[in-house]
């Protein structure tokens, strides 16, 4: 049997209490190996102190995103042979978020902004009422449906240079969530949503660089969602608030 190929994996280690450093691991290559497999191999075979985060391993939970060769990616569904650069890979925690330790980023700011963008349901009915029938073909519903497959992985937030330059900016995921709710017939408080996304750090801070849409692993389009919020807030500015 021929000797296995070896991948040279550079991993960013450390956290707020320890100095950040780069550590290189030699990892054997396997067929259909994902970047998450590589990280798991290191933790199980080379250094059990390596910290990282994952749960579902099938691209549904959004917890395993990391920077792979400078690109934010969902590591569980990123094949090594797609990102291998001269037999090497560089893995780092997600950008634009505090590091807890090694490859685990602190997602709190990301989810706090989700709440700040009014990314929560404002019901039109109570539990005593019948469920409202929704026509899936209705244009607003089509717009809302195009954004609901977000898995909260924070890849768009990590990819965004506006987030990097403006700590108050709500970011692509939270704004796309707001746009989804704004177009949802079952959401009763559109004005509150527009208030939340039109202030400092809101949708008008977006510079339309498009990295969110370019790197979204689920093929969503936060750039267009934010553009939708820009139109909606501007229309409200000129037409006045809904009575």
């Amino acid at each position: 049997m021929s000797e296995r190929e070896i991948i040279s994996v550079t991993v960013q280690r450390g956290g707020p209490d320890t100095p950040q450093r780069l550590q290189v691991f030699e990892v054997p290559a396997f067929e259909s190996q994902t970047v998450l497999d590589v990280v798991s191999w290191i933790q199980q075979n080379a250094d059990p102190t390596l910290t990282y985060r994952f749960a579902c391993r099938v691209g549904m939970c959004g917890s395993c995103a990391m920077m792979v060769n400078g690109v934010p990616r969902w590591t569980c569904r990123t094949h090594v042979n797609k990102v291998l650069n001269g037999g090497k890979i560089e893995i780092a925690p997600l950008r634009n978020l505090p590091v807890i330790k090694d490859l685990a980023a602190d997602m709190d700011p990301f989810f706090d902004k989700w709440v700040a963008a009014e990314g929560r349901h404002h019901p039109t009915r109570s539990r005593d009422d019948d469920i409202a029938a929704i026509n899936p073909e209705q244009p607003e519903r089509v717009v809302a449906s195009s954004g609901i497959e977000c898995i909260n992985c924070s890849i768009c937030y990590s990819a965004c240079d506006t987030v990097a330059g403006d700590p108050d900016y709500l970011g692509p995921a939270a704004l796309q969530r707001a746009w989804t709710l704004y177009n949802d017939a079952k959401d009763a408080d559109k004005d509150t949503i527009l208030d939340a996304v039109s202030g400092k750090g809101g949708c008008h801070s977006c510079h339309s660089m498009g990295s969110c849409t370019a790197y979204c692993p689920n093929g969503l389009d936060p750039l267009s969602a934010i553009a939708g919020l820009k139109r909606a807030t501007t229309q409200r500015f000129f037409k006045g608030r809904a009575k």
């Binding site: 240079d161 510079h207 498009g210 990295s211």
Partner: protein
Amino acid sequence: MKAVARAHPLWLAYILHRISGIGLALFLPVHFWVLSLALNNAAQLDAFLTLSDLPIVKLAETGLVFLLAVHMFGGLRLMALEWLPWNAAQKTWAAAATAGAFFISIIFLMQAI
């Protein structure tokens, strides 16, 4: 570690728009100052305009027209992107139609010259 990857078309369009804008912002005050010479100091203006025969200045003028064109189309792109609720296919067709019209008009212009 590797720098953050940014080389996708939308980001390149963004940075091109910004850099061309900065270039034009630096150029315009000088441009207006030179124009003002027509009122205040015609001799100095004529002396300055002889510089425009230099190849390097002609090259710079080409660069200037490039910056203007890039910034104008970048601005139109941005307005279409943000203000028109089009889907991706509609935007692609609109861009293709603009590029096609631009190409045909330039060919026409070059033949006329």
